[in-house]
Symmetry: C3
């Protein structure tokens, strides 16, 4: 009753690591009637050599966690519906091959192909110079490359947990340290879980400032969708307080900001910054990406108390160039960090303090299920008047700073 099966895959403290293995109904009988499975693999060959994977299959929904890339989630499949997208970067890329500062700080893009990837933790957003206090107590200018480091740091601890009592939640725990002497020492403890037979996964992250001095933190969940969820006529349904374009390019598309076009060679990304509405009291909100017919959707559920900012990245470029949209709940907008700091959107963690962030991602197949989610979004929308700004909003958009 209430027991938990635990299987440690990586434990840097004890020098423990499991190359491959599998836990499933045969090795751990739960009697769910579902062929659930958690499988550990190590990739070899090419850019992916040395990458640890943990494939979770709850019986109807499977997804692949990548401990070596900061506990990102590479791809998912719900029943026969693929989740994720096709990047020009075909393979998972081991962090050893990512030089973050390459190409004007865009090195991160050499490994960018995940369904869900965290951007953080010291910083995220556009490459920028920033001023920090150095080991001598002086101000020093440092360069912050695109979207920070966390996606390219291997987890120091990884374990599988399976609740022995119903609903038998399956959890993969990962601990990722973004640490250096005289710099940030932020620890991500991530619980990624799902229930056998369920249509969702939940990411429960805690970020702890390991230092005995205040630290800054930024976190953005870059949730990326290509077909079939993204197609001509797909829409993003969200409870809106305000939407505004990031820049002049987005401004041009503002009339159809929540609607997606077909793959279009030469399309330049359009980015919209949202202030979302939430359920009264709880801070909980939902956004939904649904296909043209409205019979397939994926929703993101989080609390605005934890993740107050939401960014929509529309990149409906040609299929070969990465036809994709990013739904990005975050602590901030992905502007250069100094701008976000000025706007009060950089999290400050006191010595030893922990910030929690939870995100549930669900898949909905069938018109009825999709409508249910839309209905709850409409319910939330009643709490707020939606305002669509035709031009960038000064306190939100850093593009024209």
């Amino acid at each position: 009753m209430g027991g938990v099966f635990r299987h440690v895959l990586t434990d840097a403290d004890r020098g423990h690591w499991v190359e491959s293995g599998c836990i499933d109904e045969e090795t751990l009988s739960l009697g769910t009637g579902l062929s659930w499975r958690v499988k550990k693999k190590t990739l070899q060959g090419g850019l992916q050599a040395g990458i640890d994977l943990v494939e979770v299959d709850n019986g109807v929904f499977s997804f692949t966690i990548v401990p070596t890339r900061g506990m990102g989630i590479w791809k998912g499949v719900y029943r026969d519906i693929p989740l994720g997208w096709d990047s020009p970067v075909r393979d998972l890329v081991h962090p050893a091959h990512v030089e973050a500062n390459d190409r004007g700080g865009l090195g991160w893009l050499k490994g960018f192909n995940e369904w869900i990837v965290r951007c953080g933790m010291e910083s995220n957003g556009a490459p920028t110079n920033d001023v920090v206090i150095d080991n001598n107590g002086n101000e020093a200018t440092v360069f912050l490359p695109l979207h920070g480091k966390v996606a390219n740091i291997p987890a120091r601890h990884v374990e599988i947990r399976v609740d022995l009592a119903p609903p038998h939640r399956i959890t993969v725990v990962g601990v990722v340290d973004e640490a250096m002497m005289f710099g940030p020492a932020l620890r991500l403890t991530s619980h990624i879980s799902t229930e056998p037979g369920g249509n969702s996964l939940t990411i429960s992250d805690r970020v702890t400032n390991l230092n005995n001095r205040p630290a800054e933190m930024q976190m953005l969940y870059h949730c990326n969708y290509g077909p079939p969820l993204l197609e001509a006529g797909s829409t993003l349904v969200a409870p809106v307080r305000s939407v505004s374009p990031r820049d002049a390019t987005a401004q041009k598309g503002v009339a159809t900001y929540g609607r997606f076009g077909a793959p279009e060679p030469g399309f330049v990304e359009q980015v919209y910054f949202y202030e979302l509405a939430a359920k009264r009291g709880s801070g909980q909100t939902v956004v939904l990406l649904k296909n043209a017919k409205g019979d397939l959707g994926s929703s993101l559920h989080c609390s605005l108390n934890q993740l107050p900012c939401f960014t929509l990245w529309k990149n409906t470029a040609a299929t070969e160039d990465g036809y994709v949209t990013g739904l990005e709940p975050a602590t901030n907008y992905p502007n250069p960090k100094p701008f976000e700091r000025k706007q009060g959107r950089v999290v400050r963690l006191d010595a030893g303090e922990t910030r929690r962030m939870d995100l549930t991602v669900a898949v909905h197949d069938g018109r009825k299920k999709v409508r249910n989610v839309e209905r709850s979004i409409k319910q939330i929308q009643k709490n707020a008047k939606a305002r669509v700004s035709k031009t960038p909003i000064r306190r939100i958009s850093g593009a024209d700073q």
Copy 2:
């Protein structure tokens, strides 16, 4: 008849990788009477840890392909003649240890010790700033480090092919992606092959623009020779339309541009840019490096339609510092990319377009065989008047731009 034996060593798509193995006359009887062999190894320890090697031995000529370093060719041996050179960099260097942007963009030199190494594919040549179009559709300045990235990207697919019908050509196929989101996505598909008992290897490369938008491409085959092919009195024999020094240093040595000296401590590299002549109609050309006695040579065969530029790098420095010459057929001269672009020497690939480049490298032992190659070069020379410029030619040399 006409069948092909195939053995896949690496396939990133299927998560397949072979740590070690060997195919030879015993495992695949061809009845050639030669003890040919293709051997897969994985190196461990030091800077070379994790490097995949494929050693091809056709019975008289062996060479080592390095899939982990972009399908470069480390060293060769023809009968008892070593091919390649001795770099101050002793070991093969895993790309994880090469920070391209280090030392003013000269990080590439930390892994430079191959007999044949490709420079490309987005760029090659001297480190430089360049202007590209970024994800926002704006011009952005990016830094291009020396000789590009391809030599430090592991192949995502590697396979051995052996023709079952005579002449039983042995081929190693490698696929290397230089790809990033919002940047170049160039795929190299390389076939490196040799015939049992033959004195040559052929590199057949195709570079494909995976994006659905135009891309630029540069490729240079840095073919490097030390002793015994390089020695005091060695010469480069080539069918010349023009030769010109790159800069003031090369200018000083222009009188003996095609002739090599003994190792000389403190020698500063001299670089000569060639416009070669070709066989009438075909575009085919040949250059030959021969030793002082003229009884040993190595020739390069390619088409000026594919590789119109040829650079001779004379670095007859002290043995310990890298006594070496580079014969460099290429799409361009290794000047900073913006200069090459201005001169129309950067390849433009349309969406999905493929560019093919073939290069055959042969070894000739014995005065007679060497003379045969010289004779064919002289034959080509009849088509063109050789012009030696004593000073850099403005449209060719970017050194004084």
Copy 3:
């Protein structure tokens, strides 16, 4: 008699590497009555994946050598006394995860957690621009990141040696090449040894200029201590000719320069530059870090002929931020290299020349043993008058250059 047992763990030349293994009294009976042991391990998982370790235990004193990180020494234990410190960087970090030029050249700090780590070999000290001669014979500006490269280069040769004759010295030999074409080619050959039952280890390093042209070299042994050796009331005892603060911050603490405080959140590092006195004739000197009670100490023994400069790094910050002091015998002070060069403190190695450096680190438990060391330091102090400068000394401190 006089024989040596040798066991090669890594030999890049021969493609040899041992994943794990152990040599001890059972496998090689020396009859010392001590349970000595040398154990080879390879770490997996997290940032430490692929790191080779050699754990040496002489029966009473054990320490862990890290061939993959330039033959640094991670941690030690003498009887039950831990040696080293607790960095915010928890795990050993594979060089593949260290981008030296990150964060304004402070990338080195992402892997900094060793007890003893070398800083060098082309350069050490603060990040700086420097002017070198490039491959074209021209002056070129290059950026030198913090503390150089050697700590992030894997050894190309590693072997264990055990003297078969008493006192049965146990030695681990490592060879680390810091080499590139057209740049430094410095080879470190390190012998790290201890005697069964002994309270010390000796690092005997030779650095050879492999090039046939002069080279520069800098080496600093960053020996780092946290508790129990470092605590409120610990002191550094040293035979002093002069001590001076590095900068204004150190200036404030100059009255207690050799005395340590308790962990103090927000403490900014204080650095003192020493000119040490030596034994008459020999150049040998000793410094001692002792705890508050004076019943525990660790001493460093070296020759000022080899390592003329000594730096004390006081970083008595909060425990979580890295409560640590660094004792740093070196060829130079860790100022920007151009300043050190101007002061004549950069070693120049002729073509093929070797520089030897020896450092013995000992542990002393019990008041009596600690006093013995103090006594020998006082003996040396008699040769020199100690001068404490209240302000930075111009020829020593580069902070205000």
